[in-house]
Amino acid sequence: MKAAPVAEGSLVAAGVSATPRRRAPRLDELLPRWATFAPALLLMLGLGVLPLVNLLYTSFHTVSWSGGHATFTPVGFAHYASLPFDTLLRAGLGNTVIFAVFAVAGQMVLGFALALMCSRVTRGRMFYRALFILPILVPGIVIGAIWKLMLNFDFGLINQLVELLGFEGRNWLGDKETALASVIVVDIWHWTPFCFLLLLAGLESLPQDPYEAAKIDGASWWQELRYITLPLMAPAILVTFAFRLVIAFKVFDEVYLLTAGGPGTATEVVSFTLYQRFFTEDRAGYGAAMAITIMFICALLLVMALSVRRRSEPA
């Protein structure tokens, strides 16, 4: 990353002016250091670490509230042991994986195709960028509300369009067969513009020389894509894909309004399962065990995503 100050290799620099790396810092150095770091550190320790420790503790207990006071009854690993038999959680995990894979794949393919097309468009850039950022800035819950209306059986725009094309309208969100697919389509609508912007930024930062060489050699459009663009873009694509996947795993807001996990368990996703068990049923202990497990899965996914990044960026 950062070139060391003595990297130039000058003996003079090393001998005279460079500060030795390992020297005990003085007080007037330590004070500003800690003073500037402390707010963030305290915030993260107090609200990022402590609650998780507390959650871990809770997960080994059954909690009952009475008058603002909690009674913790230790149960050992009982909550964790019963997790694998939770049918709702199983459905949630399965659906979340399907949701994440298809939604992110759809966003990436569409986003990349559009980025390829638009990488040479120079006019109106500000305008379409503003336009494509819009969905990212709309609250997830409002996305849910918008599409709940759009997909409404009686008057929704989607059914109007479908009927205009001569097909029969469907109850998209109320039908077991189309509910999850509808939620995936909504997510693709929500995040494709974002993938597009990221991949476009990647495309625009590619070196131009290989393309000029290819042009001289008379390469076709397809060859250019296959042998230059794709290999050069592969790291960016992989990294974006991996990280979007982890983020898609968090889906909650849209599902909450669109289908609330239904019909049946057709659109049950892990975050929603957790919400139901923890808050709706008020089972803090069991919910905590589930939360810890879900976090663990997310951390595993993240480690995988990071190893993708490391492998795709050889020092």
Binding site: T36, I133, L137, L197, L257
Partner: protein, 274 residues
């Protein structure tokens, strides 16, 4: 000739995409100006009415204005808190010769934290907030939103802080500037655009946040997303009012987008992969 048709194709694709992005939003905003009957019959031309908006904003049964105020309070306070902490820490970590492991552990943990599902974090905060009596208070939600956005703010401010030429800082030091003077006179003016980008994003994400707000608030402290979710569930058939509420809730993001578009693009694309 081929170039021209090629170019036209590009613009057509862009326009189609823009159309797909825009239609649902425009459709909902217009639905907010319709009467229920007009929406149900699906007529294309309609005389716009303001009834839905006045109903959502000023009716006795609606708390929307209160929710709006709550969202503003939480958004502004958490943004201020988050940005102060993140900017100072980013500068500290990148410029004050911390041992390498401190930087890596802290930023690494921030990444892990950022990837956690908000509902899981909400459950953790809920247990704590209830134990110390901070549930149903602004303080709990403000702190939660501040720490939720802290990782993103840390990376973004890290990028912007590192863009300040180190020679400038050294020169100021040699001239005898204290840390406070250095921060105020040199760093702050240099990172102001980056700070604006991060502030806009932090505010918008706090404004949009639902899962944590849902679990840490009650009726008096509910934010806009919580109110919309409640509205959609309680009055499932008041479609046009739901549309009006949705339109009103996008307003701040829209205004910020118009003001700070350039900043937002930069912030979003830089913060995404880092």
């Amino acid at each position: 000739m081929k170039r021209l048709s090629h170019r036209l194709g590009l613009y057509a694709a862009l326009a189609a995409m823009g159309f797909v992005v825009l239609v649902p939003i425009v459709w909902v905003v217009t639905a907010g100006f319709r009467t229920q009957i007009s929406l149900l019959t699906g007529e294309l031309l309609f005389t716009p009415v303001l009834a839905n908006f006045t109903e959502v904003l000023f009716s006795k049964t609606s708390d929307f204005l209160v929710n709006y105020r709550n969202s503003l309070i939480v958004g502004l306070a958490s943004t201020l808190l988050c940005l102060t902490a993140a900017t100072l820490a980013a500068w500290s970590l990148h410029r004050l010769r911390w041992p390498g492991w401190v930087l890596h552990v802290f930023l690494g943990w921030a990444l892990v934290f950022h990837m956690m599902p908000p509902v899981a974090l909400a459950s953790a905060w809920y247990v704590m907030a209830r134990e110390v009596g901070l549930d149903n208070s602004f303080a709990g939600l403000i702190l939660a939103h501040a720490v939720l956005n802290l990782p993103m703010a840390l990376w973004l401010m890290g990028v912007f802080v590192r863009e300040v030429p180190i020679e400038l800082e050294e020169a100021a030091r040699i001239d005898g500037a204290s840390t406070l003077v250095l921060l105020r006179r040199i760093i702050l003016p240099m990172i102001a655009p980056g700070l604006a980008a991060t502030a806009i994003l932090t505010f918008v994400f706090s404004w949009n946040e639902f899962a944590v707000a849902l679990t840490l608030t009650m009726k008096q402290t509910a934010t806009v997303p919580v109110a919309i979710a409640k509205f959609a569930q309680d009055y499932e058939i008041r479609y046009t009012q739901m549309a009006a509420a949705a339109a009103l809730s996008i307003l701040p993001a829209l205004v910020l987008l118009l003001i700070g578009q350039r900043f937002i693009v930069r912030g979003l694309t830089q913060g995404a992969i880092k």
